[in-house]
Symmetry: C2
Subunit: 201 residues, 2 copies
DNA sequence: AAGATGAATATTAACTTGATTATTCATTAT
DNA sequence: ATAATGAATAATCAAGTTAATATTCATCTT
């Protein structure tokens, strides 16, 4: 028996390539199946339907994003710097995912209308990660934050332009290049960090 | 001769009402004309075409927004507080404009594709206003900002979720209420202000 | 049984074409 | 002249039809 996960992986990869290039709607199940050398009917043994394939791709995207952030958090280094690194990593990861993906907005649309649980969970995760950095800074004495939860919520909100896909794509359309976005990520993070840094005597 | 500006104002107001309720596309020139007791043909003596009406409405919207900000800037008060007031005013003005406007996104779409100069000019203005607040703070000794222009750009970028209409509407769809947005506006501004405040000895 | 398929059916999307709407212009009214 | 209009034309939209695609299922293969 061939590893079921391998097959699922092939389907998701083929689907993502086509969704990125030609769009979620224009991509047919037959095409995805052909890329994996199988019949369209057989796809349904691995995924409930096309919609689920789209959501699954997004789930994986979010999970990779989380891994990147966790790596940064677990790294040695000052919490002050970590926030900027996270913001920058978000821009870089999303830019690399969405460059050369002219039709990706269709998948985003699909997720926005059919994957609100996914999005909610992602928001929670972001909030959790930023809380973690704040707590670390609090303990190490780098930060002085009176209400960690509220501050994390604020910073998570400010991070939206750097990773929330529709906003991110919107900004790229609105004349912001990858370089501007990187710069803004670092500067916004920096300004907020300055706001919570413990004053040196 | 009836004041030409009065007529233009009537057209713009009628159009906005219909665009907000029924959408830019569903609204016909005949309907707008009827609201102003004139023929559809006559509209073309006041506006080049329907597209221009949409852009003109947006221009006025931006101008009102600018007036609100100028008022805040010219007010007596500490520059530290003004930034938060501006962010909050942006949320409130945009929320009041777009509540009860179920179809406004169509107009936004139109402006995004056909009004890039308008949008660019608006961005510049925002940058200018924030620079002004920073300079005031610098002079009064409230702030210590090494590069005013860059910092203004950063803060202007961070303000996007609070007034850039497509992002604003996106966030409202994404579970953010008017109250959350108000809270976030104040908190984000506050955190950035803390980052540029001159340390007390 | 598990893995896969082709053919059958249900959904969607693409393509007409008839109807609406945007826009122009010659003409009328003031 | 300026202001406005109705009728004519051009562009766009919408309803209905046809073609493609998604999804199911009975069947075949291993």
């Amino acid at each position: 028996m061939v590893d079921k996960e391998k097959v699922r992986g092939c389907i998701l990869l083929s689907a993502l390539k086509r969704f990125s290039h030609y769009g979620f709607n224009k991509t047919t199940m037959a095409e995805i199946a052909k890329d994996c050398s199988m019949s369209a009917a057989n796809l349904y043994r691995y995924f409930k339907d096309k919609a689920e394939i789209g959501l699954c791709i997004t789930k994986n995207h979010f999970e990779r994003e989380h891994k990147i952030i966790i790596d940064i958090i677990e790294r040695k280094g000052s919490p002050s710097k970590k926030l900027g690194q996270v913001f920058l990593a978000l821009v870089n990861y999303n830019a690399s995912e969405f460059d050369n993906s002219p039709a990706i907005m269709e998948l985003v649309d699909h997720v926005c209308t059919n994957g609100s649980e996914l999005i909610d969970a992602h928001r929670e995760k972001m909030h959790f990660f930023i809380s973690k950095i704040l707590k670390e800074g609090q303990q190490s004495g780098d930060f002085r934050v009176s209400n960690i939860d509220e501050t994390a919520k604020t910073i998570a909100f400010a991070s939206i332009p750097f990773h929330a896909t529709p906003v991110f794509l919107l900004l790229k359309c609105g004349g912001h290049t990858r370089e501007t976005m990187q710069e803004m990520a670092l500067r916004v993070a920096d300004l907020m960090v300055k706001g919570i840094k413990k004053k040196k005597k």
